[in-house]
Amino acid sequence: MSDSPKPAHRTPLTPRRCGLIIGASGGLGAALAKKLAGQETSLALVARSKDKLDALCRQINAKGGYALAYPHDVCDYDKVPDLLRKIVADLGGLDFVIYAAGINLPPGGIDRYNFENDRLMVEVNLIGAMAWLTPVAEMFQAAGAGQIVGIGSVAGDRGRVGNPGYNTSKAGLATYLEALRNRLTRRGVHVLTVKPGFMNTEMLKAAQGATPFVIEPEKAAEDIFKAMTKRKQVIYTASLWRWIMLAIQHTPSFIFRRLTF
């Protein structure tokens, strides 16, 4: 491991949490890593880009944090169990998992279709989440403790003309997380669904059309950290999206069918 951090021992006077962030090489995942690294937390960071992960770990460890990099493509589903076990052993436990990996590949117009892109989005945004959160749910259920955070999107609240595949992947993720929550709350496990609006990250560049109320990923990371502390169930970030989406969800279909966003 390049630039391994100084060992961080858990003792009663220096308690630490152990967390795993999947999709941590940039955007929201990286912002969360930087935020949580300052909270007496040992982190395992997963994404495909090794260079970016290494740089982020170096930056965190130089500031006295503790972060380890694990290059991995979430579509390598079969590799998840071994990697998860290694991560848990390296961290010395596991207290929370954040699934932030996601891609957005618009079909290029409201009359275009692209199965390859749709399939990729479902594979990364939804099946990847299921591949990781299945063993995590089993572990947390057995331990009677733990936190699972899934990064959905306002785009999952309604099927719209722009990007059916992305909508579907995020709607599926939200339903999956809700089901996990219903299973696991009784076992002492906290499940948080996060629905960001627009965030100023690489992904935003792919967005077509207007992008109102953009926030920095650092602001979203702050909101998510608070929601984890307060054990909230579903949050929108920025929070005004809750009201916007309430309106959108209640817009009747005969109107919705005529809209172009």
Partner: protein, 483 residues
């Protein structure tokens, strides 16, 4: 190892995730999530090592798991729960020799031998500990000055090493392993059985002298002077008293009754006579007591409790008490440690030579007051050195101090304990690995010495070349301890 192929197949396909468990230390001040696997026979131990090797994990043996620190925790890795190996294999009431599996508790043991006129030679302040844990830590009792640690009463033990070897050790056979594995905190091998010599008793009672001591000097002088004419001696130290009363408290010194001294011996040696009462003062259900203690467990309330306790201690007296009552006082109040609140508690126990103890502890007590983080409970004992490799013993005394941990005091307490470590090291003192939770590798190296560490590392290399036996404590202290 041959083994049962069906059983190993079952273990291979076993879902490891389903064994994920959040474990704690005794004081509820530390949590650690591990894969908990239960051992019911020696085959299970071999399999745990094989599993760990195959999956790139490490193993820690765990008895009851009530060490005050991370000795039996192994975050993210395998914890091998030994409590299922709990058979007393042989008991010979004529010679007092007993052979047990490692998961047998002191409670199982004394209940078996006491009615026959025997008592375990060394016990901890709680009877919940397993013999595996007692040997792993090499526990001492209130009679340490007279009979040494529990290891000195073990005539033989068997263990499984991570290499797969089964070894039998005694002071004569594999003596280097005998003296290193006892007190070796499970870092070299897993005990499977142990043979111990019990101690004869002629009554179910112990005669106890109780008297108060006015200050630290008086406390330590009393321990020193009165140990020789008693079998057991222990001091309560009011950790909140200041000034001229610093170190005041009460001494309890016990003596086993000789043959004929107890006219009712027949009666008092019955098991029913030894049972701890369920209610305190006959009214309060013990299980509820910790709720009533909680409001007093703050810096102010504890001063009141300690002062009140000292007042009642002023009446010096002599009384007779059952063995169980005398030894396992703490078991009288189940879950008493819960009253320390959410942050839990830690214990800091230091062992000091009799020449330097008074000054060092005076400095430490004053420091703890000045920093606003007083200890809530202090206990002193008289000790003698022993020849175990990682021994904590000295020709002197120990002082165990309980501290309440909270979000607000962790940093201050951390600094205080670092200062304590420095003071103890300068005074030629030692530490106990089953208790202190913050001891650093540097501190351990300083008191153990390079020679001991080199010896330990050589044995570790021989018994466990692949580092399969690791605990959170091993990683905190021994893994990178130096040269």
């Amino acid at each position: 190892m041959s083994g049962n192929p069906e059983a190993s197949k079952a273990r291979t396909s076993m879902n490891l995730y389903e064994t994920f468990t959040q474990l704690e230390n005794f004081g509820h001040s530390l949590t650690s999530s591990c894969y908990r696997i239960r051992a019911t026979n020696t085959e299970d131990i071999h399999e745990a090592f094989q599993l760990a090797k195959r999956l790139g994990l490490t193993v820690t043996a765990r008895g009851t798991g009530i060490s005050y620190n991370d000795a039996s925790l192994n975050g993210g890795n395998i914890v091998l729960d030994m409590t299922g190996m709990d058979r007393i294999l042989d008991w010979d009431p004529a010679s007092g020799v007993v052979r047990c599996e490692a998961g047998v508790t002191l409670e199982d043991l004394w209940k078996r031998v006491e009615p026959d006129g025997w008592w375990p030679p060394v016990v901890s302040g709680t009877m919940k500990t397993t013999l595996g844990g007692c040997l792993g830590a090499n526990i001492h009792g209130k009679n340490n000055f007279r009979v040494g640690t529990i290891g000195e009463h073990v005539t033989e033990f068997t263990a499984i090493l991570p290499t797969g070897a089964r070894v039998t050790c005694s002071p004569q056979k594999n003596a280097d392993l005998f003296y290193a594995m006892i007190g070796g905190l499970g870092m070299l091998g897993v005990f499977t059985t142990m043979t111990l010599q019990m101690k004869r008793i002629y009554s179910g009672l112990i005669e106890v002298d109780a008297w108060h001591v006015k200050n630290l000097k008086h406390q330590l002088d009393s321990l020193l002077e009165h140990a020789p004419d008693h079998d057991y001696i222990v001091g309560w130290l009011d950790t909140t008293a200041r000034g001229r009363s610093l170190g005041r408290g009460q001494i309890h010194a016990g003596r086993n009754l000789r043959e004929g001294e107890d006219a009712q011996a027949q009666e008092t040696m019955k098991l029913t006579y030894q049972h701890l009462p369920d209610r305190l003062f006959g009214v309060m259900p013990k299980a509820l007591l910790h709720y009533f203690m909680n409001p007093f467990l703050n810096n102010f309330g504890v001063r009141l409790i300690n002062a009140a306790k000292y007042m009642t201690a002023l009446r010096d007296h002599t009384f007779r008490q059952s063995h169980a009552g005398f030894h396992f006082l703490l078991d009288y109040v189940p879950d008493w440690e819960r009253s320390f609140g959410r942050g839990g508690l830690i214990q800091y126990q230091s062992f000091l030579p009799k020449e330097t103890a008074e000054n060092a502890w005076r400095e430490m007590l004053v420091l703890s007051h000045r920093r606003g983080t007083p200890s809530y409970l202090g206990v002193t004992k008289r000790h003698r050195p022993d020849k175990f490799l990682l021994t904590h013993a000295v020709d002197g005394f120990s002082l165990a101090m309980d501290f309440k941990v909270s979000d607000g005091n962790r940093a201050t307490l951390g600094t205080l304990l670092k200062d304590f470590d420095r003071i103890v090291l300068e005074a030629g003192g030692r530490f106990y690995f089953a208790k202190n939770s913050e001891t650093s590798a540097e501190t351990a190296r300083a008191f153990l010495g390079e020679g001991v560490i080199a010896k330990f590392k050589k044995l570790k290399q021989r018994c466990d070349p692949n580092n399969l036996l690791e605990s959170d404590l091993y990683r905190r202290i021994f893994k990178d301890i130096g040269p």
